[in-house]
Subunit: 198 residues, 4 copies
DNA sequence: AATGAATGAGCCTTCATTCAT
DNA sequence: TATGAATGAAGGCTCATTCAT
């Protein structure tokens, strides 16, 4: 596959991303992709042979770097732990509320229907990565007295389950920005040393 | 609709429940239901005209009572608050891990794809009901010294988001009984008065 | 499947027979059958789900009785053995030359491509039945002095291989009525007692 | 077309032969050939523009010489007529039973579906050539007293129909080495002078 | 000569939905 | 009420064939 094909493959993935973000996973047909890309049916099959394959490629296309960026930002910045945690939560909030170009629905639909080996499950990897980042942040915060926490790992994991809970709630029930803030506030309050809470 | 029809409708819902619990929502066709019920295609349409309608009816069929039972049990029992909360969490755990006759997948699939008016969203109602129950339990616990908690409502809500997070995680990534226990333990630890934690 | 459906199934088989006799087996698509029957695509699938299934049904539909008739005619008639053998060969000739409503092409195409358990192979059964019939005829002829033959079974088998050879030759190279006559004559000459040959 | 092109054409035919011998004729697509040759789609079309053209070229590529060789061998050898006929039949038997690199299936599929002018029909030519060879052999045998036969041409033709019959039987029903031997034996017995048969 | 991306026709198959009985 | 045959739209997929490079 030459240089040109690589371009086209990228182009298809871009368009596919739009389609998945709009229709989720299960409702998307190869025809939808074909229409979105304005190419021929056969043309699409030269690059991808199923919506499954396409979706995994879309996912692979954008998650790794993002994670890496986040990790780098989290560990190398010289902001305080509190600032960084706040930043992280702000990102999560944006993600939870994001309307356009949001693969959450498609991702849930896909992974609900396709049981995947843990090792290769990108959701698992994202979750674990996030937990590690938060844990590190909390530890830093504890070290310099910003936070009080006896079990940073447990706390980080707990926070991520809350985030997951809000993500899915946002998809199925709906959630407001205020509700997210309130929730994060609740969690953060538990981290702040008692003397500062008063 | 006569007595007979009511019977038949119930029968169809029972069978439909089995189908949804096995295949989720999106993969279920009217034909699947017809086959499961061993009735005619036309016959099914006399009662339900789409899988959407059917699924909502299935949901309506079994959630209300269950919730009610739970509420009643929670408020009228004479067990301690701690026992009752433990019981509640045990139920949640069972639900999260349950393999057979589990509508979770179908429910997620349905409500991810169908945005529903908040008021009529059964997931919303279940969530809120659960929060109220837990809140009440915590308050009771605080009153009699079993628990320590400055914000019972926030704590209850937080717990439910964690539960939601674990539910969806169980569907998409997978989760072990141990992981659930650890998580519940973490939350409960935060509720126990400090002097008891040591 | 009710009375009506049985009618329709018969109707489809009739039409399918025409299609197979015109186009052979491999070139026939479900669409060809649909068009010939003037029914809907889905309609056809209610009765048959592949051209393979259809073709086997077409075959099953007309071979058994024919064979039986032949057997009965061959063994119960009161014509001489010579007359009956001549009749049999005349039938074979007609079959070899038949243009319309001829499943030979389709049959060859089908069984060349689909290896079938010997027991269930209709071609095998037809061949063996024919051999038995001829053998019986020859034996009768020998008994009453019409024929001379030391190995009726071998002779019958040989004759059938010749018939098979002419059938396939007719399909691939082409064969004339004269060529068939000449060939049958050659075989028959070997059966007639020497004194009559001169 | 330069020297180089001739080489490539030969190469393609070799590979095509393998494909046809494995898949018959009708199931072979241009893509199959392209894949087998590991050349480009467009590249193949420079040499052959359909599987029909390819198949005819494959046939033309290997039959003429073989026949010629056979003829030469049959007429120039100094073996006895009986030995030579036995050799010929042994070759036929090998051909009938041959599994690998066997164009029989493809050939039947092709010529069943494509009616060809007699003159240009390679099957016709092969058949006629074979008949001539056998006829000659029998005549030689009769001349030197090995055989007894009043109609060498008829006998040769008959033998070839039997061979054809066994070939197609081998494709559609299946045939054993023993069945072939038995059949050849039957035919040969008819050629041996009576005094030798006892 | 050679490549291989691209096209679009064409077949397969499944379903929701209707309707005569 | 209940049946189930029938329809036709829709999506999946594969190929022969072309064409710009």
């Amino acid at each position: 596959m030459g240089e040109k094909s690589v371009q086209k493959k990228k182009y298809i993935l871009e368009k596919a991303r739009e389609v998945f973000s709009e229709k989720g996973f299960k409702d998307v047909t190869m025809k939808d992709i074909v229409d979105a890309c304005e190419i021929s049916r056969g043309g699409l099959y030269l690059y991808f042979s199923s919506t499954e394959e396409l979706f995994l490629a879309v996912l692979a296309d954008d998650t790794p770097e993002d994670d890496e960026e986040a990790v780098v930002a989290a560990l190398s910045g010289d902001a305080t732990a509190g600032d960084m945690l706040a930043l992280f939560l702000k990102e999560q909030k944006k993600e939870i509320l994001r309307k356009k170009n949001n693969l959450t629905t498609a991702t849930y639909e896909y992974f609900i229907a396709h049981k995947v080996e843990e090792r290769q499950n990108p959701l698992k990897n994202q979750f674990d990565t996030a937990v590690r980042i938060i844990e590190k942040l909390i530890e830093n915060g504890v070290d310099n007295g910003e936070f009080y926490c006896e079990n940073p790992h447990g706390c980080a994991r707990n926070l991520m389950y809350v985030v997951e809970g809000m993500k899915i709630t946002s998809q199925t029930i709906g959630i407001t920005a205020e509700a997210i803030d309130k929730e994060f506030m609740y969690v953060l309050t538990g981290l702040v040393p008692d003397e500062l809470n008063n």
